[in-house]
């Protein structure tokens, strides 16, 4: 008999699509603009129970997608699994033996859901800047439409980090009755000037690329250089001083001495260039403009303070879990604490933990047993 632990088979992922708002009215967005038809790409893992209430909605971050876990059937050998595969699966933190996990790609993205690179039915050409400005509120309301379509009665939980965490908070203020719990990781109730500043640099970098052509570049040369630089800036904000010192320091890339030129001597330079190039191959520059702007507009401070107080006798109080990271300088712990404070003031059942980690804002995407244990315990404690 073998003593090796039996590893459950990896999840098989299937990207699905749901299209709605196909009528002439389309979908009215928060700005008042109309958009239609709207398609959301999504993936599901696990099985929906008979009561249709064992659902956990996973909200992805700014440049994420619906592929949160597992492998596609046609994935070549060595392909990476979904972006939160360490968290989602049989027996994992979000246990697909218990929960039905849904991860939709956000509105405005370019990973299967409707966004600026989608075809505008009015012109038969990609929207470009004709795509109406959407908000985090619009992202969440389209997710709700998807939940209704899937016949889901109530969410056991909604969980997400960064811009995914913003979606979690938007869910809390928009559809509180639909939620049993919410987990907001490395996020904020609204962007600080610092966060807006970095987003603006990213946008300006894209728009300064001559290929950008006021957003109308589909079918021609794309603003790859601008997009790559935008990603480089973004990537720095996702790391931390400690992490960069530990990983790169002042080490040189494939050389012993300085080149005394601009080819890139330091490892950090070559790392950022690599990240930029990688991003250009998978993401649309206009989507970066729209999604960064939506996250800059996002502000739930006032609405968060007005969430209905739980009634005294209700046996099933909605629970919140807020998690921050010590080295996150994009959404530092003080911003998570402001969220906790707001929830406490309206008598909500909130838990908070700061996790000691030196890898910065992106820490929630790096396998960490502490995060897994927290989330598993939190979701299990509800049932």
């Amino acid at each position: 008999m073998t003593t090796e632990a039996i590893q459950p088979a990896p999840l098989t992922a299937v990207k699905q699509h749901y299209t709605f708002a196909e009528g002439p009215e389309g979908l009215v967005l928060e700005s008042g603009a109309r958009l239609g038809p709207v398609t959301l790409a999504y993936e599901t893992y696990g099985t929906l129970n008979a009561a249709r209430d064992n659902v956990i909605l996973v909200a992805h971050a700014f440049s994420g997608d619906s592929h949160a876990a597992g492998y596609y059937p046609g994935d070549p050998e060595g392909e990476k699994p979904g972006w939160w595969d360490f968290m989602i699966g049989p027996g994992k933190g979000i246990d697909t033996d218990k929960f039905f996990v849904v991860c939709p790609n956000i509105l405005g993205s370019c990973m299967g859901s409707t966004g600026p690179s989608s075809l505008n039915p009015a012109t038969d050409a990609p929207y470009g800047l004709d795509f109406p400005m959407m908000t985090i509120g619009d992202i969440v309301s389209t997710q709700k439409t998807l939940m209704d379509h899937l016949g889901i009665r109530r969410l056991h939980g909604v969980v997400g980090g960064s811009v995914g965490g913003m979606q979690v908070l938007e869910w809390c203020v928009r559809y509180p009755q639909f939620l049993r719990s919410a987990v907001a990781i490395a996020t904020t109730m609204r962007h600080s000037a610092l966060a807006i500043a970095f987003n603006e640099i990213a946008r300006q970098s894209i728009m300064a690329d001559p290929n950008w052509n006021k957003g109308n570049y589909y079918g021609g040369s794309k603003p790859d250089m601008g997009l790559a630089v935008a990603r480089m800036v973004g990537h720095v904000t996702y790391l931390s001083d400690e992490a960069m010192r530990r990983k790169f320091g002042r080490k040189l890339q494939d050389k012993e001495t300085f080149s005394f030129g601009f080819d890139g001597d330091f490892q950090i330079e070559s790392y950022l260039r690599h990240q930029g190039t990688k991003f250009v191959n998978r993401f649309d520059a206009n989507s970066v403009l729209y999604i960064t702007k939506a996250s800059d507009y996002f502000d739930v401070v006032e609405r968060m303070g007005k969430i209905e107080r739980p009634s005294k006798k209700n046996s099933e109080k909605r629970k919140y879990l807020v998690i921050s990271y010590t080295s996150d300088w994009l959404y530092p712990t003080y911003q998570a604490k402001e969220l906790v404070q707001t929830l406490k003031r309206s008598d909500q059942d909130v838990s908070f933990c700061e996790i000691e980690a030196d890898c910065g804002h992106d820490a929630f995407l790096i396998p960490d047993e502490r995060l897994t244990t927290l989330i598993r315990g939190f979701f299990d404690g509800l049932s």
Partner: protein, 210 residues
């Protein structure tokens, strides 16, 4: 009265647990690994929240399904609305607080009743060490040296009674206890408490005018 089994939790926490009404809302300050909160939730249908400074302990609490905030208790208590809890528990922490009067004021604001426990510095073993040997006393409840002790406040049962009166609290109940070094077993002391008790447990409430 529901009384916890001896193996579950520390003796002084068992005494505290036994005084709490079923179905109450409880805030446990410095909740550690959450043993008291878990027991209260399981046995007295208590809706509990804990505050714990230590990140690992706070995470352990959340992972066992408890509602716990990781942070400094002095700061965390400020955010709650008045009378958010039926009981606020401050167990064996008062002697480590920089501003006890300010903290107690906040606790009595957010809780209807406050349960405070602390080691008694007038226990005879401490008195004898100071009297006979002339050294800063140590015992099982207060194992630290003068230079590494987190216990910056020297309190006796008598001191606390006077303090409570002076700053405007009713003492609803006083329980003096002794317990073994591990804290797992103990007994209630009824006579000469100020000299014989290792710990005092007090249930107090704010004298609310009008």
């Amino acid at each position: 009265m529901v009384f916890p089994e001896s193996t579950d939790i520390r003796f002084d926490l068992r005494i505290i647990a036994s005084t709490i009404e079923p179905g109450s809302r409880v805030l446990d300050l410095g909740c550690g690994n959450g043993d008291l909160l878990a027991w209260l939730a399981g046995n007295k249908q208590v809706t509990g929240t804990g505050i714990e400074q230590d990140k690992t302990k706070a995470a352990a609490c959340i992972a066992r399904g408890l509602s716990v905030l990781q942070g400094d208790l002095n700061a965390e208590v400020d955010d709650y609305p008045d009378c958010s809890f039926d009981y606020v528990i401050l167990s064996q922490t008062l002697q480590q607080v920089l501003e006890p009067a300010r903290l107690l004021y906040s606790l009595a604001r957010i809780g209807r009743k406050v349960i405070v426990s602390f080691p008694n510095f007038s226990h005879y073993s401490i008195r004898l060490q100071l009297l006979c040997r002339g050294i800063a006393p140590k015992n099982e409840q207060l194992p630290y040296s003068w230079y590494d002790s987190p216990n910056i406040r020297v309190i006796t049962l008598k001191d606390f009674r006077k303090f409570a009166r002076d700053v405007g609290y009713n003492i609803l109940r006083e329980i003096a206890i002794s317990s073994d070094p591990a804290g797992s077993e103990g007994r209630i002391i009824r006579f000469f408490t100020n000299i014989r008790a290792a710990y005092g447990v007090y249930i107090i409430e704010k004298i609310r005018s009008g």
